[in-house]
């Protein structure tokens, strides 16, 4: 396939501007890097709009929250290691399990998938930056402020203590006076804003910024996964946005959405929360399916078998995830006919998930598997996630659920699903893309030790919980009496949890050691087939010197000599190629925003407003206009060259 040249209409009034056809090699790389690069200095660091820098920050921040949530879990497991333990009391324990769940779901689970998407999607679809890069910067700062706020509250011993689900009326003004739950509810608001912003960016980037030739059926499976994920986020987040807003109104303004004494309904909260909360589980899982598809293709040494069924399964999963929420409420006394409907829909989601699993196994079957660390983590994913998925089938049954609901069986189930379904693929993804992000390989020997320690420790920690739950141990208890058959099981779980935590310490050590002394990676250390491996490691600010022209689903495998490219983009200003939705035919040349401090300033104003509303409703009155003014300043039209 030969290269394609674009011929933008020459601007008649001015002299011809410099384009990528006028330069080549190092000169082109350097000029583009100067155009797309970020300056050094604190102000420049806060002004950057480079998706790779923001994405890297997002990834690191999400991992920091993973470690914080993990520490909370380790402390809880120490408390539960023996019956009637008095290491910590109910107050701290309740704060810890609330912080653990909240952090893992809102500050790690959702952002980590979006973080990788922010970094990888523009590289994988062959463009220079993400759509709406300033919004991207804004979303990161909002996310950080939300996380900082809730962890600061926790450090001051006013952390939320009503669980990550904050069931009313326990979380209402009457039973949770003080500011604890307000911090929780506002943290949800922060996360919603950040997650929605990224979701919109991903959708637009995938639909409109794909490299020419990347038709719908050539989009990498990881990109499909995060695309479907973004759509799920866009539909799910508004439900929890309303729920958390109504909760804050109940708490701060005395509305009675959830107060049964005044005509409100505590179950309304559960419906709204789980209408978001169940898709949330898939928001955590879907990006991980993208990790799995990418890693399996690279290490099975063949494209993923069943591209179309896998993509359709992603869409089916995203769609069905909105029809399952009631299975979190089977013990609330719903009419049996209604509950039965949700049994069927909850069971049904096993089908698209099964299709993906079968296609991945078929890929390995027909491929020539290479057992490097990323693949090991994916194999761990199969072992753990399939078990968790099958115990999920049991939870879908109304009768069985009445016994195991809110017991440790459920705790075991969702850790199998979430750690198996998200964290194991994620760790594989870190080993897989670390060379791209840093230019260095991670240590393979340590990686294998890490995998085996994590795998064994995980099962040691969480498998016994199935049994302690069946033996009647409820969730969210800060202690338990001895002699109910739970003692040994809990001790085993605690030992496993500590070992699992240590596996993450080993992982951190591997990351730091590899950053300093890892082998140089080169552009494509795994000989993978997707576009992010076509550029330097780490990539230059412009991602690609010339936009690739895509001829195959695995472009780097199909075009082994030289990748065909598209030429004709401006070199001295930020210009992107916008393409058509289905055929990815070149459509427009669009300018892309330059760095600016406004997103940071607007995020500070937004954050201050959100936090201030916890203390006075008047914060809306003065914070709103200030934020609005800052947004006007951010969007003030500048005299930029007309887009062609």
């Amino acid at each position: 396939m030969s290269d394609v040249a674009l011929h933008p209409r020459p601007n008649e009034k001015k002299e011809k501007e410099l384009r990528d056809t006028d330069l080549a090699g190092r000169a082109l790389t350097a000029r583009l890097a100067a155009t797309w690069g970020s300056d050094s200095g604190l102000l420049a660091a806060l002004s950057t709009v480079d998706h790779k820098i923001i994405g890297r920050r997002y990834i690191i921040t999400a991992f920091v929250f993973l470690f914080l949530g993990g520490i909370a879990a380790a402390v809880m497991r120490l408390q539960l290691s023996r019956p009637e333990n008095t290491l910590i009391g109910p107050d701290l324990y309740n704060q810890l399990f609330t912080m653990h769940g909240t952090t893992m779901m809102f500050l790690f689970g959702v952002p980590i998938g979006e973080a990788f998407a922010v970094y990888l999607v523009p590289l994988m679809v062959g463009t220079r930056n993400i759509a709406f890069p300033r919004l991207n910067a804004f979303s990161y700062y909002v996310y950080v402020f939300g996380g900082l706020m809730i962890w600061t509250a926790f450090m001051l011993n006013i952390g939320p203590d009503t669980g990550w689900f904050a069931y009313t009326p326990l979380s209402g003004p009457e039973f949770s006076p003080g500011k604890r739950v307000d911090f929780w509810a506002q943290m949800v608001t922060f996360t919603e804003v950040a997650a929605l912003a990224v979701a919109v960016e991903i959708v637009v980037t995938v639909l409109k910024q794909r490299a020419p030739g990347m038709t719908l059926d050539r989009i990498p499976l990881f990109v499909w996964a995060v695309f479907v994920n973004s759509i799920v986020i866009i539909f799910a987040m508004p439900a929890v946005m309303f729920a958390s807003t109504a909760l804050i109104l109940d708490r701060l303004l005395g509305t009675h959405f959830f107060n049964p004494a005044e005509g409100g309904d505590p179950l309304l909260w559960q419906h709204l929360f789980w209408f978001f909360g169940h898709p949330e589980v898939y928001i955590i899982f879907l990006p991980a399916t993208g990790f799995v598809s990418a890693i399996i293709a690279a290490f099975a040494r063949r494209p993923v078998f069943g591209y179309l069924p896998v993509v359709l399964a992603l869409f089916a999963t995203g769609f069905l995830s909105f029809g399952l929420w009631v299975h979190h409420m089977f013990t609330t006394g719903l009419p049996q006919l209604g509950a039965s409907f949700f049994t069927a829909s909850s069971m049904m989601i096993a089908v698209p998930t099964g299709i993906q699993i079968f296609c991945w196994i078929a890929t390995l079957w027909d491929g020539r598997p290479v057992f490097r660390t990323p693949l090991l983590f994916v194999l761990g994913f199969f072992f753990i996630f399939v078990a968790g998925g099958l115990s999920g089938v049991m939870l879908a049954s109304v009768p069985i659920d009445t016994q195991v609901h809110d017991s440790y069986f459920v705790v075991a189930h969702f850790h199998y699903v979430l750690i198996g379904g998200n964290v194991f693929p994620l760790l594989g993804a870190v080993y897989y893309w670390f060379p791209k992000l840093t230019g260095r390989m991670m240590d393979e020997r340590l990686g294998k030790w890490h995998f085996w320690l994590a795998f064994v420790a995980f099962n040691l920690a969480f498998f016994p919980m199935h049994i302690s739950g069946l033996l009647g141990m409820p969730r969210r208890v800060y202690t338990y009496p001895g002699g109910l058959g739970w003692d040994t099981l809990n001790l085993i779980s605690s030992v496993g949890a500590v070992l699992f935590f240590l596996s993450f310490v080993l992982f951190l050590y591997n990351v730091i050691a590899s950053l300093r002394g890892g082998d140089a990676a080169g552009n494509n250390p795994w000989d993978a087939g997707t576009l992010e491996w076509a550029t330097a490691s780490p990539p230059h600010p412009q991602n690609f010197d010339r936009i690739p022209f895509v001829t195959h689903r695995e472009p780097l495998w199909a075009e082994r000599q030289t990748l065909p490219v598209v030429t004709g983009l401006a070199v001295e200003r930020r210009e992107l190629l916008v393409s058509s939705v289905s055929e990815a035919a070149p459509d427009l040349l669009e300018s892309s925003p330059v760095p600016t401090i406004w997103p940071f300033v607007a995020a500070v104003a937004t954050g201050v407003t959100f936090i201030a509303t916890i203390f006075t409703p008047w914060a809306v009155a003065w914070g709103g206009p200030i934020t609005a003014l800052l947004l006007v300043a951010w969007f003030w039209p500048k005299s930029i060259k007309d887009d062609e």
Binding site: P90, D91, N94, G163, Y167, P169, L170, F175, P260, A261, P266, L267, R302, P303, F305, G306, T331, T332, G333, S340, T343, M347, G354, F358, I361, A362, W365, D366, R368, P369, V386, L390, S391, V393, M394, S397, P399, I400, T402, Q403, V404, H405, D406, F463, P464, L470, L471, G472, P474, R475, V477, T479, L484, G485, W486, T488, L489, E554, W557, A558
Partner: protein, 338 residues
């Protein structure tokens, strides 16, 4: 015949359960009533089948990872025959998934029909969840025959009993695993749960919905009697409290009646008529105190009165100022309220 441990079909589950056995005071796999029995059977059927699915999937995965004699090849090289075989295999696996899921759904519906069928109850009991104890009120058409107790539900064996579940503050969940599945107690609503015990005995249960600081210490006992024993127990509970038997108990009653205890607790037959805390008319007859947190002994009664916050931090029972000499008589009086 109960399923019990003998029903274990699956290797992986039983290896774990061998460590402990599946019996236990609160084990859902150790059923003593028809509903819990149905649930345990359903559980083992699901577990057996799904474990098989897991094993088959893992074998397929392991086989997919078998060592290959063939050298590495171009990742885009296709073998048409292999592709055909894979299409067929994945299609069959998907079809089997659909069939299995449909079958499990039907099996689940079957159990649901049995569990939620109407069985005329002979007895209905109101159970109200409070932070962090259970109020138990026995209904009767004759108002004189109604009475309240706490944290201990007595039922006759082999009889379906309806529990009318309500909550006064936040959401709780009633769960006695050896008798039935759980059902929530939600403020502003009444849910009905049927329980039945086949044998006389004591069945432990515990709140299953997070309800605040002492969620961990909100347990209760269900005590199943023969019909005659149950009627005797009921007759004893309906009667007002016995007068103090000796001088120490008499002194204890005086201390009780002049202290703030009466603001919250009721002892029928005395002026104490508080309604926000457990009815103490026959507290001495109960097996535990503080929602099945402590065995009911004179020492524990005294400890509970002296330091409720130390035993259940956050509990709504306040510390009552008493002289050192007043504790023992008070505990003796309460212990004597059989």
């Amino acid at each position: 015949m109960r399923p019990r441990c003998a029903f274990r079909p699956s290797l992986i589950w039983s290896t774990g359960l061998l460590l402990t056995g599946c019996s236990g005071p609160q084990s859902s796999l150790d059923p003593y009533g028809p509903d819990a029995d149905t649930l345990a059977r359903l559980f083992w059927n699901f577990t057996g089948f799904l474990t098989l699915v897991w094993v088959v999937t893992m074998f397929a995965l392991l086989f997919a990872l078998r060592p290959r004699p063939e050298p590495a090849r171009d990742p885009l090289a296709h073998e048409q025959n292999a592709e055909h075989g894979m299409v067929l295999t994945v299609a069959i696996a998907t079809a089997l998934t659909v069939i299995s899921i449909a079958a499990l759904t039907v099996v689940s519906y079957g159990a649901q029909r049995v569990l939620f069928s109407d069985r005329s109850p002979s007895l209905s009991i109101e159970v109200t969840g409070h932070q962090w104890w259970w109020e138990v009120r026995y209904e009767d058409p004759r108002p004189s025959q109604t009475f309240a107790t706490a944290n201990e539900i007595h039922i006759p064996v082999a009889t379906p009993v309806i529990l009318k579940l309500a909550a006064s503050d936040v959401i709780h969940s009633f769960w006695v695993p050896r008798l039935a599945g759980k059902l929530d107690l939600i403020p502003g609503r009444t849910n009905e749960l049927r329980i039945q015990a086949d044998k006389p005995g004591i069945y432990r249960g515990q709140c299953a919905e997070f309800c605040g600081w002492q969620h961990a210490h909100m347990a209760m006992l269900v005590v199943a009697h023969t019909q005659e024993d149950f009627q005797a127990w009921r007759a004893a509970q309906v009667s007002p409290a016995k007068p103090p038997a000796d001088a120490e108990q008499k002194r204890g009653q005086e201390i009780f009646l002049k202290s703030p205890c009466v603001m919250c607790h009721q002892i029928r037959g005395t002026p104490a008529a508080g309604k926000v805390a457990p009815d103490l008319t026959h507290v001495g007859s109960r097996r535990t105190i503080a929602a099945a947190t402590l065995p009911n002994t004179r020492g524990n009664l005294a400890a509970w009165i002296v330091d409720p916050q130390g035993i259940k931090p956050g509990v709504h029972m306040p510390l009552i100022k008493l002289d050192a000499g007043e504790i023992q008589p008070l505990a003796a009086y309460l212990e004597g309220l059989k």
